[in-house]
Every structure is written in C-alpha cells, then in structure tokens.
Symmetry: C2
Subunit: 196 residues, 2 copies
C-alpha cells in the first residue's frame, strides 16, 4: 500500500513553449490533460502535500539546449527561454507562491537538477507523475525515479503523447519497468479514501 | 601542456552572503583574493574564453539548504536567498551580460547542477578554479571535476580558507589528488605567453 503522506505530485513541462499553438514546439494534445492534472493538483493542495513543477528553461545563447535541438532553437529565437513567457507554466496550472519549481535542461527531471535532494528532504518515497510528453520527459524521469528507489505512479490520462499508440506503448513499457499506471479517476478515488 | 583554448575560469561563491561583513556566513578573508581573481578574469574576458560564475542560492523556505546548516538558516532569515542581495555576486566581480551563472545548492559546483553539460558543450577540458572556501566548495568541486576527467588548476592565492594552515593542507591534498596548484602570477604569466 502506497503511503500517500510521503508522496509528491510532479507536473512536468506544462509551459507555454509546449502549450502555445504559435510555438514551434507546440504539443497539440497538451491542453487535453490539463483538467486531469488540475483534479489531482487540487487534492494535493487541499491535503497540503508537496507539489513540484518541473520545467525546461534555456539560456538565451542556447548553450544549454539539447544538442538534437540546436537547429530548431537557433531558427526559432525565443524557445523555452529563461525570464520569458515561453518558459512560464500555463495560467491554468499556475504554481502558488510556496509550490516548488525545478528548472531542468534535459528530458529527465533529475538530470542536472536538485530534484532528488528536495525529495529526500521532504521524505518523499512515492511520485505521482503528470505532464508532457510521455515518451520524452515523462519516461526519462521515470527511469531515474525508479533507479533512485522512488515508487512511481504514472497517470495515464494526465500525461500525453503525439499519438494514442505512442502513449499506449510507453505506458506498457513503463509498467514493465515497475511503474504503476493509474487513471485520474483511479488515483483521485484512492487519494480521497486514503487516511491522511 | 594545457590547451588554454579549451579552458574555462570558474569563480565560486563570491556572493554577498559570504562577503558582507554583516552576514552570519561572512568569510573575512574573502575580499583578499578579489584582486587575484580579477586579474585572471580580465585575461579570460580579453581572450573571450568562457567564464562561469557558480553560486549558492536557496529557496526562502530553506528546503534546499544543506542539512548541517538548517539551524543557522532558520536563525538568520535571509541567508543566500534567491532573488535577494544575499545571493548576488559582489559588485567587484559582477558578471557581464553573456557570462554564465550556475546555481548550486551544495558544496560541489557539479552536484545537482548543469555545469558538466555546459562544459561539454563548450568543449572545455581544463578548469581554472578560484573562489571560496578552499576546504568546502573549492575542494568538493575539484573532486568532481577530476572524477569527470577535467584537468584542474587551483589558484593558490585566488582561493582562500579560514586559516593559512587549512589553506596549505588543502592545497597539499588537492595536489596529491592530481590537481595542479599555481599562483595568480604563475597562471597569468602562462596565459600571457600562450598562443591563442
């Protein structure tokens, strides 16, 4: 049985560069999962459990952008830039003053970030994972979370991929890695019944 | 022979929390090394070689402060805080617009930071290390830099410790680890003669 008192909600990459239809990195299925994330977010806020927003942010000169994205970064000026609207978390999920934001430069939320030391300090053992995109940042984060001994619950309809097939295949693979896959309804039901 | 075209200057923790005499973390020998750092910094600026400022910064709620410093953090309100004068790099060494600043939460400049991916992108092989304090952040950074295959040059009079003995002992140990120890005069002489 998962001890949700020791759980944190991760919300990954829900920022304008991926959710603004004018952005070259626009993920057109991104907004579909916002209501699901919000449902879980509201429970985490109500229960005063840790909420961690993880987002990409890059320096204006592009020195910290993934090598595979240098071209598109140069072409498009203003991609996921620090101190810029493009790296802001969307208004619908706007972090409250005391909620944690972790900046990352690569797919995994743990790669070159302080996420692990924050989770240790908070005594977190279980991670609820939401956000975009499943085959990239979600899955890379899941590998590292499992490798670091966290229990991982991926929310199938609060994460998203370009196609249904990619989503299905990735959830299947992550379940085989040892992650638990639950729907938003399932996790909210469990959380509502859990004795905090 | 070190290829200084592939070198970067690291300036570690030269921020107000450590260099303001009213701060509880005041390092009273910190200002003594500023002229030495500045001499090397000027050469790096002139040669357009990479300069990386690394500094601590902590969230207001203290969740990312070292466990051994929680007490002093709580007692002193305003220790090395993000978006605060206390975590600003001192005016004498103020970074220019395009110089890189890396935020760290622990002693080593590599621990939970993007420093290594920046250095790789810049094709840096050699690190010139300056700043405070030698037995803490300097040495922790040196362990990781050597472990990651960088060549390391620690500048003996552009780094500092609480006492001359601590400084001497730490330089001795780092030399045994494989770091090169040079004075500011030595490194500036070498740099001035180097064919860029």
């Amino acid at each position: 049985m998962v001890d949700f008192k020791r759980s944190a909600l991760l919300i990954i990459d829900m920022e304008y560069s991926f959710l603004d239809s004018k952005s070259p990195l626009f993920v057109d299925f991104g907004y579909e999962i916002v209501p699901s994330i919000k449902k879980i977010l509201n429970i985490y806020r109500e229960k005063k459990l840790p909420i961690i927003f993880v987002k990409r942010e890059h320096r204006k000169n592009g020195i910290d952008i993934d090598k595979t994205r240098i071209k598109i970064f140069k072409k498009s000026k203003g991609l996921i830039l620090e101190n810029d609207k493009s790296s802001e978390i969307i208004d619908d999920l706007k972090p409250l003053k005391d909620e944690i934001i972790v900046i990352k430069r690569r797919w995994s939320s743990f790669f070159g970030t302080e996420l692990d030391i924050l989770l240790r300090r908070l005594k977190i053992k279980n991670l609820i994972i939401t956000g975009i995109q499943t085959p990239n940042c979600i899955r890379a984060t899941v590998y590292d979370a499992l490798s670091l001994d966290y229990n991982v619950i991926v929310i199938s309809d609060a994460t998203a991929s370009k196609t249904e097939e990619i989503q299905k295949n990735n959830l299947f693979d992550m379940e085989n890695l040892g992650a638990k896959i639950l729907t938003t309804d399932e996790i909210t039901n469990i959380l509502e019944k859990f004795k905090f």
